[in-house]
Amino acid sequence: MLFKRTAGPGGVECDVTETRRDQQKLWLILFQIKGVRARLNSLALQQSLFFTLAFLIGGAALIWGAAIFLSPLLFLLAAFAVAMFALAGIVREGRRGLRQVANSARAAAIADQRGDLKGRLATVLALGEAPKHSPLWPYLVEDAYSRREEFVPARIEPRWISRAIFALLAAGLMALAIAFSGLKSRNQVRRTVAGGARGQITADIGNLDIRPADPALEPNAEIYADEKTLRKLENRLAAAQHDADKNGLSRWMNKARNLAGDLQNKVTGQKTENSGPPLRLQLTDRNPGQGEDSASNPSSEDSSGRNGSSGSRANSGPGTARNGETEPAPPTGSTPGSDADQLAHNRSALPAQPGPDPADSGFQDFAAGGSGGGQGSSHGSGSDPNGLFGPDSGRTLGSDNFKITIEAQASDESSRSGSPGYIPPRIRVSLNSDQYPDEPLERGSVPAADQAAIKRVFQR
């Protein structure tokens, strides 16, 4: 401490020395540098946090949107790409945030640069703790102190909030947009499913084109058929599954589809929301005399030109519905205006499949139960004359059939740009007084004398 000796009436006066004042000024300068540092570090932290959140929210929204709008494989690829991008972004922003964390020297250097202080603060900070100071040290402290207005934290860094918040807002808006459109799409699907309680559709087992299913689609159809027909269907499904498993690429693709489908279901929660009224299909067999082997061999049917040109693909079975490896596909070539056609139209969201032969459509209109609605054009075409007669069942309608669930999911075309919205099935022809719904009738006793004539009629 220096004492200034002044000649006065009281003799020697001891004042607060310049050294002490320099120390106070130095303390104030260092305090302001600390303020600058705190603000810089706060912004660096905010930037890292906001960008990380933006990447997380944006990535999650994109993955969710992909799960809703894309097919399983595309979803898998898109989800992987988005996840990698988000991960890389988070790592990059984390590193950048770490780099931007400022110690006191860096804060002083930044303040020097932004306040045009030409190294004054960095020098004060660096030499403040030095045991011996230059004779110019007081000048430097005074000089820096006189410019303290130029390096107040608010002037060096005016922002309290990092600009990265805009990235976070953008990600949030994107997530909202995707969520909105996704929810809208799902609501339309739900309405479609709810409005699609249109009774039963009859499918011909011979026209079924059985392929591995799209696992993303939930089983939402019920098949009614006699036991024999269902057995044939099951065999064909097993054969199709076997063929698919023989091909390694197909197997892996199926596994990928399974994985992607499971992921999509988990992401979108479709499993719980797809519980609308099931699509009811009645399965018939036009060639009841054909053996199970030949019926279950798709290749033999392909060679007969039936299956290969089949336009309808109602596919599933108890096994395949379980593991999700069969794919319900739209009967894109079915008779225009029929329920089957409508179903095909609604299912066209599925991946493109080989073009069917419209003339070979296996779906036929079927009157909705009790509604008195339209009839198809080939009622009873699948009835077995050999099984016409039997003991009186005395049971309710359909009680002698068992049902299996197949995958069939209505899709909403309105959610896609340029595609028409869902069109409800048109019923063109109503039943006349001589016609009856193609429902299994209760078996009753038939007089022996009439049985031969009835059999002849059905054989025709």
Binding site: L2, R99, A105, R106, A109, D112, K118, G119, R120, A122, T123, L125, A126, L127, S134, P135, L136, W137, Y139, L140, D143
Partner: protein
């Protein structure tokens, strides 16, 4: 603090005094020298930094006039030596001659040469032989001359300004690297522009001569200049700036041209590796710091900044970089190398 110390401190020039005196000397020099503002500033910076200057310029650009005017303005003793091939070291330093004494005895007596002054102009120094050029080494570095086993100190301030003629190189002896290194700055005098040429013609062809006034009285000139030189040395340098200077000097050395940048990522100065045989010595770092200190004082600061270093880099480093044949064949000069180095090192600032 006793009375003597207080008196000494009161005589000590302040930062404002330094800038004022510097600008005044500069103004006096510019009475005789038209243009060359940067060269004059670098020349004065070298003087107050305690170094020596190598002035390079084509004939007629005012090299000799500049030096003479400076000596006149500072009111310091000034000598000029025209270097020629047959100039001997003793012609510069002085020699011992036999003189007759009072009692008829003959004895050796030292006759100081032109080197004994405050400001020495070594005109066209590259025309003398290396042996003669080297006679200046001891004087420039240690402010003393040793002749016949006896050392004679030189009176401070001592300031050598050597001129180089870049043309008519035939029959010249390029300065050895060791001697080049002893010059703090190398100042280039280029051809004046049209406006400057007009002013030169009008001011030098009339009847009136440039009325250069002395800034210091003769009795105080040396001490005042020494006081200003001491003030320069008191300017503070923060450790980050010292590291910056060290990085810059090391970046001129081919073996160390990979400098560490932000987060220790190396910055590679490709031009150095390709064109430089030898980079700057530690004297280059000293020159950078001293030159930056003068610039800081001129700006009214007691500390140096990175910008001060950058601005003085060309003058301090160009003559310390030895280029190889590839540089000559590619027409690359030292100025380009220094520019690349500064650019690379600037990116490593904190």
């Amino acid at each position: 603090m006793n009375e003597t110390e207080a008196a000494t401190l009161s005589e000590k020039p302040s930062i404002a005094d330094f800038a004022r005196i510097f600008r005044r000397v500069q103004g006096e020099v510019h009475k005789a020298i038209i243009g060359h503002e940067q060269a004059v500033e670098e020349l004065l910076s070298a003087l107050f930094a305690g170094g020596h200057v190598l002035i390079e310029g084509v004939p007629g650009t005012g090299k000799t006039t500049l030096v003479k005017t400076l000596g006149l303005a500072l009111n310091l003793s000034f000598n000029r030596v025209q270097f020629t091939v047959d100039l001997m070291p003793a012609d510069i330093t002085g020699t011992r001659v036999i003189l007759g004494g009072n009692e008829g005895r003959r004895e050796f007596s030292f006759q100081p040469g032109p080197i004994f002054c405050h400001i020495l102009l070594a005109d066209e120094i590259n025309r003398a032989t290396p042996k003669t050029q080297s006679a200046l080494l001891e004087a420039m570095a240690e402010l003393q001359v040793t002749i016949g086993g006896t050392t004679y100190p030189l009176a401070p301030p001592y300031f050598v300004m050597a001129t180089l003629n870049p043309i008519e190189m035939e029959g010249t002896y390029p300065l050895p690297e060791a001697q080049l290194d002893r010059f703090l700055f190398k100042v280039r005098l280029r051809y004046p522009g049209e406006e400057e040429m007009v002013r030169i013609v009008s001011s030098t062809t009339g009847p009136e001569e440039a009325g250069v006034e002395t800034v210091f009285p003769l009795s105080e000139a040396a001490s005042r200049v020494e006081g200003l030189k001491r003030l320069v040395r008191e300017v503070m340098v923060a450790p980050p700036v010292e590291h910056y200077v060290a990085r810059m000097v090391r970046a001129t050395q081919p073996e160390n041209s990979r400098i560490l940048g932000d987060l220790h990522a190396p910055v590679h100065v490709e031009a150095v590796n390709r064109y430089v045989s030898f980079g700057s010595s530690p004297r280059g770092a000293q020159a950078l710091i001293m030159g930056a200190k003068v610039r800081a004082l001129l700006d009214g600061r007691a500390n140096i900044d990175y910008e001060d270093v950058d601005r003085i880099a060309a003058a301090a480093l160009e003559h310390r970089i030895m280029l190889n044949y590839a540089a000559h064949s590619d027409n690359v000069d030292a100025a380009h190398i220094v520019e690349q180095v500064v650019k690379a090192v600037r990116s490593t600032r904190p």
